[in-house]
C-alpha cells in the first residue's frame, strides 16, 4: 500500500520541499515538482500494471482516521478501483507532460518556483479527489483544487484581468459548492438515525442508501433533493451552464495551467464525481434527466460561443466547456463508461491543443487568431500537432475523439432523441470552430498588422515539443487501447447510422470552415450580417456575463450589502447605540439643572432627605 500513499503524497512532498528550500532556486523547484509528480505517475503505472495482471486486486482501500470522535469518524484514505486508477493515470500522466512542458514555457518567469509549487499542490489536491474514500476527503480536495486554480489563474497578479479572473473562478465555484456541501451534509444526515451511525464513506453509503430508502427511513423527496444539491458541485467545477462563466476568464492564467487544470483534469473532476457517485444518481432518474439536459445545453451553447471568439485560448476554453457538456450529458443518460472514456480522450487532445496554443503564444506573444496567420511556415511542428489535436476534437474518424464521442452519441440516440440531435449538431459546430481556428491562425499569410509582434515567430524548444508529441501520440491511439474494457463495464455497441450521420455533420463543419476561412469563398462578414440576431447574441455571450455583473454589482453589492450597511449605520449604530447614548446625555442635561450652585439648595435637598428618612424610620 506504500505505493498507493506515494501516488498521493509525492506531489505534496514536492510542494512542501519547494516552499521550504527552493523558493529562490527555480531549477531545483521544477526538478522537485517533476520528480514528485513523476514518482506519483510511476506508482500509478505500477498499480495499473498490477491491476491488469491481477484484476482481483481492485478495488483496494486503505485509510487512517482523520477525525475520530465518539460520534463521528472521518477517515482519510485511498480508494483504488478501475475508475480512480484510470483518472489518476490521466492526472499524473498528462500532468507530467505538462510539468515538463512548463519548464520551457515558464522559463525566466519571476515566480517560477511558486508556479511549480502551486502546480505540485494542485496535483496533490486533484489526486485527493480522485483517490478519496469518502465525501469529506473528496470535498477537501475539491476545495483545494479550486484554491490552486485561483492562485494559478492569478499567477500574473499584476494584470488586473488575471487577478479578477482568479477571483471570479473561486467565487463561482464557491457558489456551486454551497449546494454541494449542503448535499453532502444532507446525505450524511440521511445515512443513519444517530450521529454514530452516519457515514461519509462511499462504499458504505452505496450499500446502505438503497436499504434505507427501501425501508422508508429516508423521506421520499429527500434523495432527489440531495442529488440536485450534489450536482451543484460538478456544475461549478465542470463549468456547466449557467455557472460556466469563470472558465473562459480563467484563460488569463499561464497556458500550461489552462491545459492541466482548465482542460484536462480539474474541470473534469465534476464528471469524475458524477461517475464516482453514480450509484446515488442511478436511484433518482429525474435528477439524471436534469443532468443530461444541463450537459446537452452546455455542449451546444458553448460550441456556439466558440464560433465567434477570436482569442485562441478562449476558443479552446469554450470547446472545453462544450466537451464537458458532452461528458455530463453522457452521465445523465446513464453512460458512466462513455463519460469517463470521453474524459480520458479529451484530456489528451485538449491538453495537446492547449499546449500547442501555448507554443504559439510562446513563439509569437499573440493569441488573437486574426492577428496570427501563416504559422504553418514558421512553426511547422506546432501546427502539425495542433492539427492532430483539432481533428481529434472534431471527431475525425480513427482519432481518439471520434470513438469516445461516438459512444456518447449512440447513448443519446438510444435514450433521448432531442439530446441526440443537439449532440450531433454540436459535433458539427465543433468541427466548424476548430477548423476556423486552424485555418485562420495557421494557414494564410502572416497578418500585416502584427509584423512587429510575430515577425520573429519561432518554433518552441524541444522541451516543449516532446510532451506535445507524446500527447499527440495518445490522442491518436487512445481509441484503440480498450479504455471501456478496463472500466469493466458494458460499452455501447458501434452504431453505423449514428457514425455516418456524425461523419457527415463533421465533414460539413470542417468543409465550411475551409471554404469560409481559407478559400474565402463565403465572406464571414456577410454571413455574420445575414445571421445578425444569433451573431449579436453570441458576441455578447448570451448576455449571461452581463447579467451576473449586473447582479453582483447592483443587486448584491449595492442593494443587499448596501442595505445591510445602511441598517448597521443608521439603525444599529445610529438609532440603537447612539440613540441610547443620546438618551443618557439628554437625561444628564435635564438632571444637571438640579445643580444650581447655590449651597443652600443642596442643604435643602439634604434636609428633605433627612425628613424622608425620618418619616420612613419613625412612621407615625
Amino acid at each position: 500500500m506504500v505505493t498507493a500513499w506515494l501516488i498521493l503524497f509525492a506531489p505534496l512532498a514536492a510542494a512542501i520541499a519547494i516552499l521550504l528550500v527552493a523558493i529562490h532556486r527555480p531549477r531545483l523547484a521544477s526538478t522537485l515538482a517533476i520528480a514528485g509528480l513523476g514518482t506519483s505517475f510511476a506508482a500509478t503505472v505500477w498499480w495499473f500494471l498490477q491491476a491488469l495482471h491481477q484484476p482481483m486486486l481492485l478495488p483496494s482501500e486503505t485509510s487512517v482516521n482523520w477525525i475520530s470522535l465518539p460520534n463521528l469518524t472521518i477517515p482519510f484514505g485511498i480508494l483504488l478501483d478501475q475508475l480512480s486508477l484510470l483518472m489518476a493515470l490521466v492526472v499524473t500522466g498528462v500532468g507530467s507532460a505538462i510539468f515538463i512542458y512548463s519548464t520551457g514555457y515558464m522559463a525566466g518567469d519571476a515566480a517560477y518556483s511558486r508556479f511549480f509549487g502551486v502546480l505540485s499542490l494542485f496535483a496533490f489536491s486533484m489526486l485527493t479527489i480522485v483517490l478519496s474514500t469518502n465525501w469529506i476527503e473528496l470535498f477537501m480536495g475539491w476545495e483545494l483544487v479550486g484554491f490552486c486554480s485561483y492562485l494559478l489563474i492569478g499567477h500574473w497578479y499584476a494584470k488586473p484581468s488575471a487577478a479578477d479572473a482568479g477571483k471570479k473562478a473561486f467565487m463561482v465555484n464557491r457558489v456551486a459548492d454551497f449546494g454541494f456541501l449542503l448535499g453532502i451534509l444532507a446525505l450524511w444526515a440521511a445515512s443513519g438515525a444517530t450521529p454514530a451511525e452516519r457515514t461519509f464513506h462511499f462504499h458504505t453509503l452505496q450499500l446502505r442508501l438503497p436499504l434505507l430508502a427501501h425501508a422508508g427511513t429516508i423521506a421520499a423527496g429527500t434523495l432527489p433533493v440531495i442529488g440536485v444539491l450534489i450536482f451543484c458541485g460538478p456544475m461549478g467545477k465542470s463549468a456547466q451552464f449557467p455557472l460556466h462563466v469563470w472558465l473562459p476568464d480563467a484563460m488569463e492564467g499561464p497556458t500550461p495551467v489552462s491545459a492541466l487544470i482548465h482542460a484536462a483534469t480539474m474541470v473534469a473532476a465534476g464528471v469524475y464525481l458524477l461517475c464516482r457517485a453514480f450509484w446515488l444518481f442511478e436511484g433518482v432518474p429525474q435528477v439524471l434527466t436534469l443532468i443530461a439536459w444541463v450537459g446537452g445545453l452546455t455542449a451546444f451553447l458553448s460550441a456556439g460561443l466558440a464560433l465567434v471568439e477570436n482569442d485562441l485560448k478562449r476558443i479552446l476554453a469554450y470547446s472545453t466547456l462544450s466537451q464537458l457538456g458532452y461528458m455530463v450529458m453522457a452521465l445523465g443518460l446513464g453512460g458512466r463508461v462513455a463519460g469517463m472514456y470521453h474524459l480520458t480522450t479529451h484530456a489528451f487532445f485538449k491538453a495537446l491543443l492547449f499546449l500547442a496554443a501555448g507554443s504559439v503564444i510562446h513563439g509569437t506573444h499573440e493569441q488573437d487568431i486574426h492577428k496570427l496567420g501563416g504559422l504553418w511556415r514558421s512553426m511547422r511542428w506546432t501546427s502539425l500537432l495542433f492539427l492532430i489535436g483539432a481533428l481529434a476534437l472534431a471527431g475525425f474518424p480513427g482519432l481518439s475523439g471520434f470513438f469516445s464521442k461516438e459512444e456518447i452519441l449512440v447513448l443519446a440516440h438510444e435514450h433521448s432523441a432531442p439530446l441526440y440531435w443537439i449532440g450531433t449538431l454540436t459535433a458539427g459546430l465543433t468541427a466548424f470552430y476548430i477548423g476556423r481556428a486552424w485555418c485562420v491562425a495557421f494557414l494564410g499569410h502572416p497578418h500585416a498588422d502584427s509584423h512587429s509582434g510575430h515577425g520573429a515567430a519561432h518554433e518552441s524548444p524541444p522541451v516543449m515539443l516532446i510532451p506535445l508529441a507524446l500527447l499527440a501520440l495518445l490522442s491518436l491511439s487512445a481509441g484503440y487501447v480498450g479504455i471501456p474494457r478496463f472500466l469493466g463495464e458494458h460499452a455501447e455497441e458501434f452504431h453505423w447510422g449514428v457514425a455516418i450521420i456524425s461523419l457527415i455533420v463533421v465533414g460539413l463543419g470542417l468543409g465550411l470552415a475551409w471554404l469560409i476561412y481559407y478559400r474565402r469563398a463565403i465572406s464571414a462578414q456577410q454571413l455574420a450580417h445575414a445571421l445578425a440576431l444569433p451573431h449579436t447574441l453570441l458576441q455578447h455571450r448570451y448576455y449571461i456575463d452581463d447579467a451576473y455583473t449586473w447582479y453582483v454589482e447592483t443587486i448584491q453589492q449595492r442593494l443587499i450589502a448596501g442595505l445591510c450597511a445602511w441598517i448597521e449605520r443608521a439603525l444599529i449604530i445610529g438609532l440603537f447605540v447612539n440613540g441610547i447614548a443620546w438618551l443618557t446625555q439628554t437625561a444628564g442635561r435635564v438632571l444637571r439643572r438640579l445643580q444650581t450652585g447655590v449651597v443652600q439648595t443642596y442643604a435643602l435637598v439634604f434636609l428633605l432627605g433627612i425628613l424622608a428618612l425620618l418619616s420612613r424610620v419613625f412612621a407615625w
Binding site: 482516521n65 482523520w66 477525525i67 475520530s68 470522535l69 465518539p70 460520534n71 463521528l72 469529506i136 470535498f139 477537501m140 480536495g141 476545495e143 483545494l144 484554491f147 492562485l151 492569478g154 497578479y157 499584476a158 494584470k159 488586473p160 487577478a163 479578477d164 477571483k167 473561486f170 467565487m171 464557491r174 457558489v175 454551497f178 456541501l181 449542503l182 451534509l185 444532507a186 450524511w188 444526515a189 450521529p195 448584491q556 453589492q557 443587499i560 450589502a561 448596501g562 445591510c564 450597511a565 441598517i567 448597521e568 444599529i572 449604530i573 440603537f576 447605540v577
Partner: protein, 525 residues
C-alpha cells in the same frame, strides 16, 4: 495531578508570568525599550511554554479538570482561588498563549510609550488567562474585568482613527469609549446573573466545580434557570459579540493598535462564548433548553448580516472586524445546537478563528504601518513589494473562508454536522455565510495585494528577517497543523464536551430517580 515548575504550579505559572512581566516592566526605566520588550517576550514565552506543556500532558482518558490549584480565600462567602483546565479551556489557553506571544512580537512596532504599553498589554493578557483558568465565579468575574479595562487606554492612547479618504469616520476615542461602556455594561448584566445564581444556589460557594456538583444533584428550579439564563447569555454575549449588540466590536478592532486587535478579536471575544458555555449552559441546562433556539436565530443574524455588512466595508480592519462578528456567529450557533459535535466545532472554531483573525490583524497592522492607509480603494499591488505578507494574507483569507487544510474548515464542518439535524435552516444559512465570507475576503485580497504595483507604495517593505516573520509563521503553523491533522485537538475537546452535553441535555430528574441510567440526548429544534 498538580504539575509544577520550580515549585510553581503550572497554571499559576501560565497565569502569573505576564503579570510578573508587567510588574518588572513597571520597575524598569522608560528609556530602555529594548529591555522592556525582551522582558515582555520572555513573559509571554513562559506562558506559551506552559500552555503547550499543559495541552501535551492533558489526559483525555481521564477528562475533567486537570492541573488543579485550589487555595481557599474568603471562607464565609465561599470564595477561593481555584484554577483548573478541562478539554475546552486547555485549548483556549493555548489559543491565548499563541496570540499573546505573537501579539507581543507584533508590538515591537509600537513606537512611543513602550513601557506603559507593555504594562497594559501584559495586564490584559493576564486577565484573559485568568478567565480561562478560573474555576471560581468570583475570580472569573475579576479576571474578566481585568481583561476589559486595559483595552481602554490601549485603544485610546495607541490606537488610530478610522478614516475614509482622509476623513475621520470614527475617532479612536469614540471607539474606545464605546467598547469600554459596552463591555462594562455587559459585565454588569452578567454580574447580576451570577449573583442571582449564587444566591439561589444557597449563597454558600462561588466555586464552579462545587456548584456543578450541587446542580447535578439538585438542579435549580427551571423557572429560575429560565430567568437567569438570559442575563448571563446577554451579559457575556455582548463581548461574543451577539447581534445586535455587536457594533462596538468592528469599530473597536479598527481603532485598536494591531497587537491589541489581535488579542481582542482573537481571544477577547472568545471570553464571551466561553462564559456562555461554561456558566450559562453549564450551570443552567433547563434555561439553556428554553433559550438556545432563540440564540440560534440571533446567530444566523450574526453570520449573514455580519457578512453582508463586511461586504460593504472599505476599511481593511472594518472588513475583518465585521467578519469576526460574522464568524463568532458560528461559534454561538455551535453552542446553541447543544450537541456534542457542534460544541466541539464551536470550541475548535474559537481556536481556529482566534488564530486566523490574529494573523489577519497582524498583517493589516504591518501594511498600515507601511502605507498609512487601510482604505481599500487606495491600496493595491502590494504583493510586488511584500510577497511574504501577501502570501500570509492569502492564507488568512482562505482560512477565513474555510479552505480545507486550515483549521477553520474542520471547525465549521463540525458545527454543520452537529447542527444539521437540530437546526437545518440555520445551517443552510450558515453555509451561505461561508460563501459571503469568500466574497469579501477575495475582494480584500484582490484589492490589497493584486493588481499593478502602485508608485506610492514603492517604499513598502516586506517582513524580511526571520524574527519579523516569526509571528506569522507561528500562527500559520498552528492553522495548518490543526487543519491538516485535527484528530488530537478534537479528541481533547471532545473529552470535555461529551460529558458536558450529556449533563446539559439531561432532563431535570428527581432525587429518587437520580440513580437510574442517563437519559438519551434530546434535541429540541
Amino acid at each position: 495531578m498538580v504539575s509544577a515548575v520550580l515549585g510553581v504550579p503550572l497554571l499559576v505559572l501560565i497565569l502569573l508570568a505576564p503579570m510578573a512581566g508587567a510588574l518588572m516592566i513597571a520597575l524598569l526605566p522608560e528609556h530602555r525599550p529594548a529591555l522592556i520588550r525582551r522582558v515582555a517576550v520572555t513573559a509571554a514565552s513562559l506562558s506559551l511554554a506552559g500552555a503547550v506543556y499543559a495541552i501535551l500532558t492533558y489526559n483525555t482518558a481521564a477528562g475533567g479538570y486537570q492541573h488543579e490549584v485550589c487555595v481557599p480565600w474568603i471562607h464565609s462567602l465561599g470564595i477561593g482561588f481555584h484554577l483548573g483546565v478541562d478539554g475546552i479551556s486547555v485549548v483556549l489557553v493555548l489559543l491565548h498563549a499563541l496570540c499573546a506571544f505573537t501579539g507581543v512580537l507584533i508590538s515591537y512596532a509600537i513606537p512611543q510609550r513602550v513601557k506603559e504599553y507593555f504594562i497594559f498589554y501584559l495586564t490584559l493578557i493576564t486577565g484573559v488567562f485568568g478567565v480561562f483558568l478560573s474555576l471560581d465565579l468570583f475570580f472569573f468575574y475579576f479576571f474578566y474585568e481585568m481583561a476589559v479595562i486595559p483595552m481602554y487606554p490601549l485603544i485610546g492612547v495607541w490606537g488610530s482613527d478610522v478614516k475614509e479618504r482622509g476623513v475621520v469616520k470614527f475617532s479612536k476615542e469614540y471607539a474606545t469609549m464605546k467598547l469600554t461602556i459596552y463591555l462594562t455594561l455587559g459585565a454588569v448584566v452578567a454580574l447580576v446573573g451570577l449573583l442571582w445564581l449564587y444566591v439561589s444556589a444557597g449563597a454558600t460557594t462561588f466555586d464552579l466545580v462545587a456548584l456543578q456538583q450541587q446542580f447535578a444533584g439538585s438542579p435549580l428550579d427551571p423557572g429560575l434557570q429560565r430567568a437567569i439564563f438570559p442575563l448571563l447569555a446577554i451579559g457575556f454575549g455582548v463581548i461574543a459579540p451577539m447581534w445586535p449588540l455587536h457594533s462596538w466590536s468592528p469599530i473597536g478592532h479598527a481603532a485598536a493598535p494591531s497587537a491589541v486587535s489581535m488579542l481582542h478579536a482573537g481571544v477577547l471575544m472568545k471570553l464571551g462564548s466561553y462564559a456562555i458555555i461554561r456558566l450559562a449552559v453549564g450551570l443552567l441546562p433547563a434555561g439553556a433548553q428554553t433559550w438556545l433556539p432563540w440564540l440560534a436565530v440571533v446567530c444566523v443574524m450574526n453570520i449573514v448580516y455580519g457578512g453582508l455588512v463586511a461586504m460593504a466595508q472599505r476599511d481593511l480592519k472594518l472588513i475583518i472586524g465585521y467578519s469576526s462578528s460574522s464568524h463568532m456567529g458560528y461559534v454561538l450557533l455551535g453552542i446553541a445546537c447543544l450537541s456534542p459535535l457542534a460544541l466541539n466545532g464551536a470550541v475548535l472554531l474559537m481556536f481556529a478563528h482566534g488564530i486566523m483573525t490574529a494573523l489577519a490583524f497582524a498583517l493589516v497592522g504591518h501594511l498600515y504601518d507601511q502605507t498609512h492607509t487601510r482604505y481599500l480603494p487606495d491600496l493595491g499591488g502590494l504583493a510586488h513589494q511584500a510577497p511574504f505578507i501577501a502570501g500570509c494574507g492569502v492564507i488568512a483569507a482562505m482560512a477565513s473562508s474555510g479552505l480545507p487544510g486550515l483549521a477553520n474548515f474542520v471547525a465549521e464542518l463540525l458545527v454543520f454536522l452537529g447542527g444539521w439535524v437540530v437546526y437545518p435552516v440555520q445551517m443552510i444559512l450558515g453555509v451561505l455565510g461561508v460563501v459571503i465570507t469568500a466574497i469579501y475576503m477575495l475582494r480584500l485580497v484582490r484589492g490589497t495585494f493584486f493588481g499593478p504595483s502602485k508608485p506610492v507604495f514603492a517604499r513598502v517593505t516586506d517582513a524580511t528577517t526571520a524574527f519579523a516573520k516569526l509571528p506569522y509563521l507561528v500562527l500559520i503553523g498552528a492553522l495548518l497543523a490543526v487543519g491538516c491533522w485535527p484528530g488530537p485537538l478534537t479528541r481533547i475537546i471532545a473529552s470535555a464536551t461529551e460529558p458536558f452535553i450529556q449533563q446539559a441535555t439531561q432532563q431535570p430528574v428527581r432525587a429518587a430517580t437520580l440513580t437510574s441510567t442517563t437519559q438519551p440526548e434530546s434535541h429540541s429544534p
